[in-house]
Symmetry: C2
Subunit: 367 residues, 2 copies
């Protein structure tokens, strides 16, 4: 029972496929009212649904918007996804989703798949990795995106730009001999909804120093994870500006469990501070890590803000009912998603995302 085709509708209406096409899908030429009505009636009666694949092939525009995230179950990304979806709906596009688990290799695959699908635009969110073990995959990812762009696609990155191969672009690229030189100057480049991680982390650092904290520890993701690294450096920068000692950096996985592990490791420092009559202020580079830290320390009988202070980053919506209310940096994630999608689809360069420090109970006065 194959689907009803346009020519069947046309035959039923007693017109040519060309005419049927013109009335059913917004063409510049509008057939006469009576005919149009007949065609529409026939289409309705037969339950005609256009074959989007065929349309895409004929028009060479697919109506697809690709979204690449690290983990769709992570509230950070699912909020962005929500924004992207809402923009896609408004613009009449439908969403292609890939959740990559964060590896550049998977991201490359996703870009390839979307290219193959001829997605009109792609939004790629999530931290880049500057680790050397990822550099090959990063380079491959970069080439893949360039190919996509060269084929007329539109790409917007959320967060930061792709990492370029070490040797910059002035050495001839080792693989493609000539195209690097010839096309480089004309090659379209991805747009960027930048998230000022470093700047905002610095703001947070300044705020917290102003609150009177003087001893800090940072719970970060693995070295080479760009988002984490920037937040760390921004925060340290603030401490430096305030004439404070640099914070110790504890590295673990960039998620809740990583935070939990780090929290356990911080017990001694927290207790030491308490015994000195002081409080350690912990900055976890994202909210989920912060939640993990809090959970671990609570198990040890240590509580914020009484025994220590803690701040996160992102202001994921999960935080709403978390105790203690967590100081953090709000990122308008859904809005960022919307913006990215609109930029990708309309081609206009987006503004960087805004963000703001939100002080809550977790860095408040000692209970």
């Amino acid at each position: 029972m194959p689907a009803v085709t346009l020519s069947e509708v046309a035959r039923a209406a007693g017109v040519s496929p060309a005419t049927a096409s013109r009335v059913l899908n917004g063409s510049s030429r509008t057939p006469g009212a009576d005919i149009a009505e007949r065609v529409r009636a026939a289409a309705a009666a037969l339950g005609y649904i256009p074959n989007a694949q065929a349309q895409a092939l004929a028009r060479s525009s697919s109506g697809l918007l690709g979204l690449i995230v690290h983990d769709i179950a992570d509230p950070y990304f699912s909020s962005i996804a929500r924004g992207v979806q809402s923009a896609a709906r408004e613009l009449g596009k439908i969403l292609l989703l890939t959740s990559t688990e964060g590896t550049p290799a998977e991201e490359r695959l996703a870009v390839e798949a979307f290219t193959s699908r001829r997605a009109d635009a792609i939004v790629m969110a999530g931290s880049r990795s500057t680790r050397t073990e990822d550099s090959l995959d990063n380079a491959a990812l970069k080439r893949e995106t360039e190919r996509y762009l060269a084929n007329g696609g539109s790409l917007v990155l959320v967060g930061h730009d792709l990492v370029s191969p070490e040797g910059a672009s002035d050495h001839g690229s080792p693989s493609g001999p000539e195209d690097a030189d010839l096309e480089a100057s004309f090659a379209p480049s991805p747009l960027l909804v930048s998230i000022p991680n470093e700047f905002l982390a610095r703001e947070l650092g300044l705020c917290l120093s102003d609150e009177g904290f003087s001893r800090f520890a940072i719970v970060a993701g693995p070295e080479g994870l760009m988002t984490s690294d920037l937040r760390v450096s921004g925060f340290q920068m603030a401490l430096g500006e305030k004439g404070l000692q640099e914070a110790d950096v504890l590295r673990s996985a960039f998620n809740r469990d990583g935070g939990y592990d780090a929290g356990g490791a911080l017990e001694a420092s927290v207790r030491a501070a308490v015994e000195r009559g002081d409080r350690l202020c912990i900055f976890a580079v994202n909210d989920r890590m912060a939640m993990g830290v809090v959970a671990a320390l609570r198990q040890k009988g240590l509580h914020a803000p009484t025994d220590y202070a803690i701040a996160g980053f992102d202001d994921i919506n999960t935080l709403e009912d978390f105790i203690p209310g967590l100081t953090t940096v709000r990122l308008p994630l859904e809005e960022i998603g919307r913006k990215a999608a609109r930029a990708a689809l309309t081609g206009e360069d987006p503004l960087p995302a805004a963000g703001e420090v939100i002080l809550r109970e977790s860095t408040g006065r000692r209970a």
Copy 2:
């Protein structure tokens, strides 16, 4: 700079497009090794990426898996989405996502869009509505899914079946005159990953009675929301079996804020119980509502499990760090997503989802 096509590759390799097609895309016929190598080399050199639209058109299989959820930013759905994505990856499909905000009208649109895209399979998750104001849209949704199925699509519902129009199927349908009779018996029907909401809510009710609670209140979603209604009735059923009085039902929005509102409204009852030296046990029909209730009551100075007890449903992963640890019914959401996707893609009938009551601090002994 249009993308490179198969025939360009073929020409470069000095073979026919047919041969090139056979070597590049898994065909049953594999050309000779030397030729294959030549073609592969040419494809690599030119950076060929097959046009999936054209392939889909020619093969009449798109390699697309559609996913329809109410709200992708809701952890309930994003967990399911994660499972679906992982199954899709394993089976070499790519995901089409629509987040509908829960209205049957939007869901119908999504099914139509996926049909148009010729998605190989669709997974639709989220509660159905039995409200009369939705009955028209429900009927339209049902017709749309039937059309999709009739066109050879495969549909899996997560949760419960579609709601059928009132008059059952024995009256001739008012719209399509003959096809209702003729095709009805052969019409393929959607598969179902059923979630035993009623059964599990009953289990929860039994557990809580066994814990010694005797006065209950239920915080439910709006009447007519099937998931909510079933959880309410299952719970009440348990109370009846235990010879307890039926619980009062408070209705509000099926989300965190709805729970918050209901929590405020429950203050008096909670206090009354406390003054009697008793504790009210609240069952919120989903975790997010439960979190809202807790937040509202906390603002009034009331805490679980000291002043009242509370249980939720779903065991969304956000709960991990929620205080107090919330008694709930665990649903293996990611697993459910995987199962649904596999069923949709392979066509085999899935088993119902399992679930289990998880007792935690929120219904424990009085602090």
